[in-house]
């Protein structure tokens, strides 16, 4: 479970996140929807312990992220906005390095790496150095390394960004599978259709504030719109920055 309470963050005079509170419950897919620049990535980076909030708190399974970063990160797997790989290492070596950093080794690590390579259908690129990979191939490696320790909570920042149609379908399949396995999934997106089709729970952010949240049914009810995408636009007030 990921719990965020009254988070705020300013960069200089720009108030990127003003007041964000929500809960991503266990075994559910929670979508963080908002136009580009709404504060999604900044919120994500505070949950992962990369940025320090000016006020408010983030908890991973009741562990205070800022006070106990290492313990919180053990229970979290993240595909961040920045997802560079080591270009002189193979996909397998990239994934195994993160496994080692999580304290895995030996047969346990090998088994886990092989499982992810099969899950993400990347046997063809597993033993190639990652230099020159396509965006889709890079994202697969980045996802695999973030899941290597089988974390109960998974954070995905715009996971389908830059992917072609086939890779996007694969990615959505994986997100659903993670839910079936009981993981807590929180992912951010500016694509309404993606959020509408995947999420059990939706948090809509605009201009650094949570403007609405709830299940798709609850959002439709709140806005009196039959179509979920119309409901999003009604809540945010504009289609700008959305797809």
């Amino acid at each position: 479970m990921i719990q965020v309470t009254n988070l705020s963050k300013a960069f200089g005079s720009v108030q990127a996140v003003k007041d964000v509170s929500f809960t991503a419950p266990n075994g559910r897919i929670t979508g963080l929807l908002g136009p580009n620049g709404a504060g999604k990535s900044t919120t994500m980076r505070m949950i992962t312990g990369i940025l320090d909030p000016d006020s408010g708190t983030a908890h991973i399974d009741d562990i205070h992220v800022q006070k106990n970063r290492v313990a919180a990160q053990k229970r979290l797997g993240t595909l961040p906005d920045k997802r560079g790989l080591y270009q002189r290492l193979t996909s397998r070596e990239n994934i195994a390095y993160y496994g080692h950093l999580h304290g895995l080794s030996g047969a346990k690590l090998d088994g886990r790496v092989n499982y992810l390579i099969n899950l993400l259908d990347m046997n063809d690129i597993a033993d190639r150095v990652t230099e020159g990979f396509s965006t889709g191939q890079k994202v697969k490696v980045a996802i695999a390394r973030s899941l290597v320790h089988d974390p109960p909570n998974i954070l995905l920042d715009e996971p389908t960004m830059g992917l072609d149609v086939m890779s996007t379908r694969t990615m959505r399949g994986i997100i659903r599978q993670l839910r079936e396995e009981g993981h807590t999934v929180l992912f951010s997106s500016h694509i309404m259709q993606e959020v509408a089709s995947l999420c059990d729970n939706i948090v809509i952010i605009a201009d650094g504030l949570v403007v609405a949240q709830g299940s798709p049914d609850e959002l439709r009810k709140q806005t009196n719109e039959a179509d979920l995408e119309d409901a999003f636009v009604a809540v945010i007030g504009t289609e700008e920055g959305l797809e």
Binding site: R45, I50, V70, R83, G84
Partner: protein
């Protein structure tokens, strides 16, 4: 804890050693230095010593005016050659190094016991002729002395009367190192250059490069205290830099010791291996400091380019003082032991000359240098523990 640091170090080593071109560039820039210095100083030395020993080809105008002088010169390994019609032209063009002119009135003045006029013509801007000119002047001086002694004896006067002083030069240095000693003064320069350039590419790749390739933020999401990343990367760069520095030092000493090269450069290196080892150990803390400072600078840099600019300036600051001290006659002072790199230059000089090792000075030098390394590392760790590390750029 140690196993986690080893995981980081091992990954960085594999990753960086696969970057063949950078490794090659790093080793090349480090190993070229000893070759360059030995070739440069060696050939300068060999040029001077050859000029001092070979037959002096002396072009003479008016040789017929002084047959005795010419006979004397011929005995002293001088080959007398006729001068061309236009000696000024020959000197200016560099064709001739020195021309001796024996003037018309020489014989007359010599017989009368008056100073007999001779001229030594040279081009003062031609540095290559310095040794030959000096040899010519010394030979003329020697002939003059000999003539004076004979004249005094002929008049029944003891020649010692006109030599009121007997001057002897006494060298008090413990061991005469000769020209090779001058070259050994370059040992700190070679080691500092390697220390500041050996791990240069690697440090930047692991810090500013990691950020530029956007792999730093995902790395920091792993549940590890961040100081371990700094230490793991530092150990990698330090290990490579130590290897590069020892390779450069080894190559330098090897070049000075090879008989073929000794023949070529006329430099004989005669120094106890124990002294070289002591000198290398005195300088080693500088490697720890250089890599730590580079890491700090490259971690703060916004991108690889900026990191390269700043670390290059640092490299210059690292080895230029040693280069100046190696060629300029500057006296050591107590405060210099407190300045990393400068203190080491003087300590190594003392060790090479065989003076007793000043334990207090060595201790100060080691402690101050290592302290700078520790402070730089602590500052890097402090940066990695702040969110600023993810926001630079």
């Amino acid at each position: 804890m140690l196993s986690t640091i080893w995981v980081i170090t091992r990954k960085e080593m594999i990753d960086n050693l696969r970057d063949r071109r950078s490794v090659f560039n790093a080793l090349l820039s480090v190993l070229l230095n000893p070759i360059l210095y030995v070739v440069l100083f060696g050939f300068l030395n060999s040029a001077f010593s050859e000029q001092a020993e070979q037959t002096l080809e002396l072009h003479v105008i008016g040789a017929e005016n002084a047959p005795n002088l010419i006979a004397f010169l011929a005995q002293q390994n001088v080959e007398i050659l006729p001068a061309p019609d236009n000696p000024e032209q020959g000197l200016l063009s560099g064709e001739l190094d020195v021309v001796l002119v024996i003037e018309e009135g020489y014989a007359e003045a010599f017989t009368a016991g008056e100073p007999a006029p001779v001229q030594v013509m040279r081009d003062g801007s031609n540095d290559g002729s310095t040794v030959l000119v000096r040899r010519t002047e010394q030979l003329l001086e020697a002939y003059g002395q000999r003539t004076a002694v004979l004249r005094l004896l002929a008049r029944g006067v003891s020649p010692t009367l006109v030599r009121p002083l007997q001057v002897a030069a006494v060298d008090v240095s413990s061991q005469e190192l000769g020209a090779a000693g001058t070259l050994l003064d370059l040992l700190p320069v070679i080691m500092f250059t390697a220390a500041f350039l050996g791990g240069f590419y690697m440090v930047i790749d692991m810090t500013a490069g990691e950020r530029e390739r956007e792999s730093l933020e995902p790395l920091l999401l792993n549940p590890i205290p961040r100081w371990m990343f700094v230490i793991g990367k530092y150990i990698t760069a330090l290990a490579f830099t130590i290897v590069a520095t020892f390779l450069a030092t080894g190559l330098f000493l090897f070049l000075l010791g090879v008989p073929f090269i000794q023949d070529l450069t006329q430099l004989q290196l005669n120094i106890a291996p124990g002294r070289v080892v002591t000198a290398v150990l005195i300088i080693t803390p500088v490697i720890f400091m250089a890599v730590a400072l580079q890491m700090l600078i490259a971690s703060y840099a916004r991108n690889v380019k900026e990191a390269q600019t700043y670390t290059q300036i640092l490299s210059l600051a690292g080895f230029m003082p040693a280069l100046f001290l190696a060629v300029l006659p500057i006296k050591s002072a107590a405060w210099m032991n407190f300045v990393p790199t400068i203190g080491q230059v003087f300590l190594v000089g003392q060790v090479m000359r065989g003076d007793p090792l000043p334990v207090a000075d060595v201790t100060i030098s080691v402690v101050v240098t290592m302290l700078v390394a520790v402070i730089a590392l602590a500052a890097s760790i402090r940066l990695y523990n702040r969110e600023q590390i993810a926001l630079i750029g």
